[in-house]
């Protein structure tokens, strides 16, 4: 090949540019690799790899989407909260404590709506939060929930906040690391009521001790 011809060099540059354009971006390459190198197992299907609108926005914007998109997504998440038909938001705090302590469920070893051991799914709340006064083996990924009701008041508005936050944390902070327990159908309505009571019942050790 004779070098030096401007036309040849221009043609070469165009080919190189075209090649560069054909190279997938790291994100596209990663998506393709994940699609190929993951497989469905048990209840964990390949659909779990597909980003929904919240995940897509948080991934695209490094967990910091622009204000308008943030507000739109939060509103949509809040609108999806299913409120209890009987209007009661609080269940039994003793059951709530058990749900908070247990962390199993929703993995590929678990069953639909049940852990691998045949128990109800847990919330795994102590993985990330300090909650009651008797458990020192708590995680620090989320803020302390100790004295939750005592510090904020026991009114219905706070109850609604607690219930909906557990149901769908993204309704309040769209890129929060907290799972959307109701939205993902990880926890049932009764379980979320019990957790709300754990945080909001004045008799719960969270508030009373």
């Amino acid at each position: 090949m004779r070098l030096g011809s401007a036309a040849t060099i221009a043609a070469g540059a165009a080919v190189l540019a075209a090649c560069a354009a054909l190279q997938p971006s790291p994100r596209d390459a990663a998506l393709a690799l994940m699609q190929r190198d993951f497989h469905a197992e048990g209840i964990a299907g390949m659909d779990r790899l597909k980003e929904d609108d919240v995940q897509a926005a948080c991934n695209e914007y490094g967990n910091n989407p622009p204000a308008e998109l943030d507000a739109k997504l939060r509103a949509k998440q809040y609108a999806g909260v299913k409120w209890p038909a009987d209007g009661k938001l609080m269940g039994d705090w003793k059951s709530g404590e058990k749900i908070a302590q247990r962390g199993r469920g929703m993995t590929w070893r678990d069953k639909p709506h049940q852990t691998s051991r045949g128990e109800p799914n847990g919330g795994g709340c102590y993985n990330c939060h300090q909650i009651g006064p008797d458990t020192t083996s708590f995680g620090t990924i989320g803020p302390s929930l100790y004295q939750f009701g005592k510090l904020r008041g026991y009114g219905t508005e706070i109850q609604r906040y607690a219930y909906s936050k557990i149901y769908n944390a993204k309704a309040y902070s769209v890129c929060s690391q907290m799972p959307r327990f109701g939205h993902a159908q990880a926890l049932t309505e009764a379980q979320i009521k019990d957790l709300t009571a754990l945080l909001m019942d004045p008799a719960s050790p969270v508030n009373s001790r």
Binding site: P26, A30, K50, N59, P133, D134, T136, G139, I141, A186
Partner: protein, 271 residues
């Protein structure tokens, strides 16, 4: 409110107020576990698998009745010393980046005649059985003890693997919207009482490699990074990664390159 809770809260408050660089070491809960681990590291049962792995490396086995002594781990056929510290790396014969265990599996297939299907069927240790790749990986890793991690980033596919691995690390998905970064992308947090090193930080990224392969006290089993990544994705409520896949090699590239230049002390011991 009891005294230990007050202490725990005080420690947590102190940790929160300290600048990020110190937050990791100030956790008194973690300090106790570190002490326990240091005592046990003196006679680590992992050494039993180093011995077993060496036997498996040198013994002619499989349908081809060959040893692994011609296996090229990146430094030439049969060169084991220092190889683990320089992985993942690109291998021309397969035109892809491979981590150590993926490469060992590849050698078991090509040199000894085993199949991927049989090696991938039950690739992780149980109380009664340790799969051969796990023992061999433990042996190979031990031959890099005391060396600085130096995964190469010269080949374009090695660089691409780093970038792809980084994408995977930050990719939020699954039923709980978790990414690897949800737990391992921030300084100073812990899950229950287990400290979560920040793998994006060069100083802490060593903890993604140090201690693996590791003898896990829980169950008395030997585990490698292939197991650790598998179990991470399980807890992330993702689908299951393919054993020894290119995707896991990319993720391991990201994690190991972040820790480059730091000393790998060899197989460790875990809770």
């Amino acid at each position: 409110m009891n005294k230990s809770l007050v202490l725990g809260l005080a420690a947590a408050c102190a940790a929160a107020l300290l600048p990020p660089a110190f937050a990791q070491t100030e956790d008194p809960v973690a300090a106790d576990f570190d002490k326990f681990r240091a005592v046990l590291e003196q006679d680590n049962p992992a050494e039993l698998w180093e011995v077993k792995g060496e036997q498996l490396w040198k013994t002619p086995r499989g349908p081809k009745r060959a040893s692994l002594e011609q296996c090229d781990l990146g430094l030439g056929p049969g060169v084991v010393k220092g190889a683990y510290a320089q992985m993942p790396r690109y291998f021309a014969d397969v035109d892809r980046v491979m981590d150590a265990e993926a490469r060992i599996v590849h050698c078991m297939i090509t040199l000894q005649g085993f199949t991927y299907e049989e090696l991938a069927k039950k690739p992780f240790s149980s109380a009664t059985k340790t799969p051969d790749p796990v023992s061999i990986t433990t042996y190979v890793a031990a031959q890099s003890a005391g060396m600085k991690l130096a995964p190469p980033q010269s080949h374009p596919k090695e660089k691409a693997a780093y970038d792809v691995g980084k994408q995977i690390f930050f990719y939020r998905a699954g039923a709980y919207d978790f990414s690897c970064a949800s737990c391992h992308g921030v300084d100073g947090q812990r899950i229950r009482t287990q400290p979560l090193p920040n793998f994006t930080s060069p100083a802490q990224a060593i903890k993604a490699n140090q201690g693996w392969p590791g003898y896990r006290m829980t169950g008395g089993v030997m585990h490698t990074l292939q197991w650790r990544l598998n179990d991470c994705f399980r807890q992330q409520r993702f689908p299951e990664p393919d054993y020894a896949s290119e995707m896991l090699s990319a993720l391991l590239t990201y994690l190991t390159v972040n820790a480059q230049g730091q000393e790998y002390k060899g197989p460790g011991i875990k809770r």
